[in-house]
Amino acid sequence: MSLNFFFHSTNSIYFLQVSLQSAFLPADKNGNEKMWKYIVKRLLLIFVVLFGVTLVTFSAMHFAPGDPAELIALARYGSDLSSEQIEAVRAMEKLESSVCIQYMKWMDQLLHLDFGKSLISGDDILTEILIRLPATIKLAFSSLCISLLIALPAGILGALHKNTFLGQACVFGSLLGVSIPNFWLGVLFIWLFSLNLGFFPSFGYGGIEHLALPALTLGTSMAAVTTRLTRASMLEALNKEYIITARAKGLDERTVILKHALKNALLPVVTFSGMQLGYLLGGAVVVETVFSWPGIGKLLVDSIFARDFSMVQGCVIFIAVLFSLSNLAVDILYAFLDPRIRYEKHN
């Protein structure tokens, strides 16, 4: 199991959801009942997705080359193992029964919200994850705020002045942001703000000064993509007929842009930001690691290096749940923002 696996699993959840989603989007728009039916349908779908996630994580551990009991013993007691130690682990972790039965037992536990215990420390996995959750939430929201504070003005300016130096600078800046990897930007910020200027501590957890650098790193790199999206959807909105109607009313350019165009252009941006937030809530693996930020991403990476398989499984499932739920929340939010999708009674 590796970092790669983690990324692939969350990505495929996303794509699976998107494709299922489009198949199930309600065609007609009347009645709150429809909305509820839709939400229930989506929740059922999330169960299907999560079932897939458990299958994959479970198989990854049990069908990986090597004896799972030996791997666990290795993680727990170090490299020189006696066969008694291995057998003791096998008995303790109930690894002698068939794979099917093990899986069913594990699923039974999960359905009772029992994520099991850490293989190394023996701590309750769900408790461990929930302890890390506040740090991840703090980082997620503050970096989203930073990202939007940069991306919205830059995207709008980029669209309005697309042929001038200013507009080109916005495009270039966001291109640069997209191409710079997170870990490199993080290290650069540490070097600049922490080592050279001494503004912020380079790692740790506590007050706002600790939050500054990781949030700035994540926020700026997220802003790059959001800027491009804002600019593109703003350009699209500005080309629409209703903009001409707005101008024909004699409204000033500020109202035309900030009210008539922006309100339309923001729809995809809101959806995208919501998705980004869902992704961040699952823990920003790289940035949390670079800044030793004690969130879920850091927990996941630490567990991977410690070969704490049950903790890794627990994290992946928890992340999948968060991601699915936040995607659902984004869809519902979108339905409320866009009157054309909003489900209200009318005749």
């Binding site: 007929e241 209703y242 001409i244 109607t245 707005a246 004699g250 409204l251 309100k263 866009d338």
Partner: protein, 342 residues
């Protein structure tokens, strides 16, 4: 008194295949409290003309000529002065209300914002005026909080009308207000439009390709073809004795005359035909029609025709009879398609 006097207006667009001459020397006048119908095939430049009057075209459009509104040239007006004319002096109903209304704002807000912006009214008063305006155009005022997609095509058109007339402008431009409507809705909209415009003593520039609609309410009619005006005059005269073969063609295409649609395709606006732009499709064209571009001739009070054949129809027949031997091999084919004799 002339409210709007357009003189030799040109609107050119830079496009991939060359310069699109969307309006190429348009001259047109519109009196006070007058309804002028602008008719012509799709793509001949009607919407462009409607928009350029309010200076709503993109900066890429090259505009030349004179656009006199109440004696003042709108084309030389600075943008901040021009903005005061929009909505207040000139209102417009754009083509396709489904796209011309903002999908994420309520129709009430799209109307009320006009009153807040131009008259400095507060939220409540603006809403009150919007309700009154909705009543006038025949929409229940309790639909103020609804969104454009909840309205039918005819109702959206009424919203557009409410927006266009919100500030009682002296000139309303209505771009294809009956397009895509069923016959009974169409008649309602046309009746409402003319009633409200007459009530306000406003002028109306009615852009349409529907001759019947133009015939019902227009005082005057102008016929546009390939970016220029071919004929303009009192509606009765144009409809009873059209001066231009193209107008005759349009009349014959009406259902009651048996839907005789004009042969041939609308010409390209990048490289329009030499001479008279209509000559390749004309049933009665002369030799010089393919060579010399006819001027817009004054043929009566406020009546104009752009045609070499006008007033010599007898002669035209003679020429047509005697013409075949003059035809070259090359022009024979085009002649068949266009029923044209050189």
């Amino acid at each position: 008194m002339k409210l709007l006097d357009i003189k030799n207006l040109r609107v050119y667009f830079e496009a991939e295949g060359g310069i699109v001459k969307a309006n190429d020397g348009v001259s047109l006048e519109l009196g006070e409290s007058e309804i002028l119908g602008l008719i012509g095939e799709t793509g001949c430049g009607k919407s462009i003309l409607g928009r350029v009057v309010m200076r709503l075209l993109s900066e890429k459009a090259r505009v030349e000529g004179r656009l006199l509104y109440k004696g003042q040239d709108l084309l030389t007006l600075p943008e901040n002065k021009m903005r005061l004319f929009r909505g207040k002096e000139i209102g417009i109903m754009l083509q396709n209300p489904a796209q011309a209304l903002n999908p994420v704002l309520t129709v009430g807000e799209q109307l009320a914002e006009i009153y807040r912006f131009h008259e400095g009214l507060r939220e409540r008063e603006a809403k009150e005026k919007a309700r009154a305006m909705f009543k006038r155009v025949g929409i229940k005022p309790d639909r103020l909080g609804e969104y454009p997609h909840q309205f039918s095509g005819g109702m959206q058109q009424r919203v557009m009308l409410a927006i266009g007339l919100a500030l009682k402008p002296s000139l309303l431009i209505a771009d294809e207000p009956t397009k895509g409507l069923d016959p009974s809705t169409k008649h309602q909209i046309v009746a409402l439009l003319s009633a409200l415009v007459r009530e306000e003593h406003s002028s109306l520039l009615l852009i349409t390709h529907d001759l019947e609609v133009a015939a019902t309410i227009c005082d005057r009619i102008a016929v546009m073809y390939a970016g220029e005006i071919l004929e303009a005059g009192p509606a009765k005269k144009i409809l009873s004795s059209p001066g231009h073969p193209y107008t005759r063609n349009l009349l014959h295409s009406l259902p009651k005359y048996g839907l005789n649609v004009a042969v041939g395709q609308s010409p390209s606006l990048i490289s329009p035909p030499l001479g008279c732009r209509f000559h390749p499709r004309c049933g009665s064209c002369l030799k010089k029609c393919s060579k010399i571009h006819p001027d817009l001739l004054k043929t009566g009070p406020r009546t104009y025709v752009r045609c070499h054949v006008y007033g010599k129809s007898g002669k035209a027949d003679e020429i047509m009879k005697g013409a075949p031997e003059e035809m070259s091999e090359k022009t024979k084919n085009t002649a068949e398609v266009g029923r044209c004799h050189f």
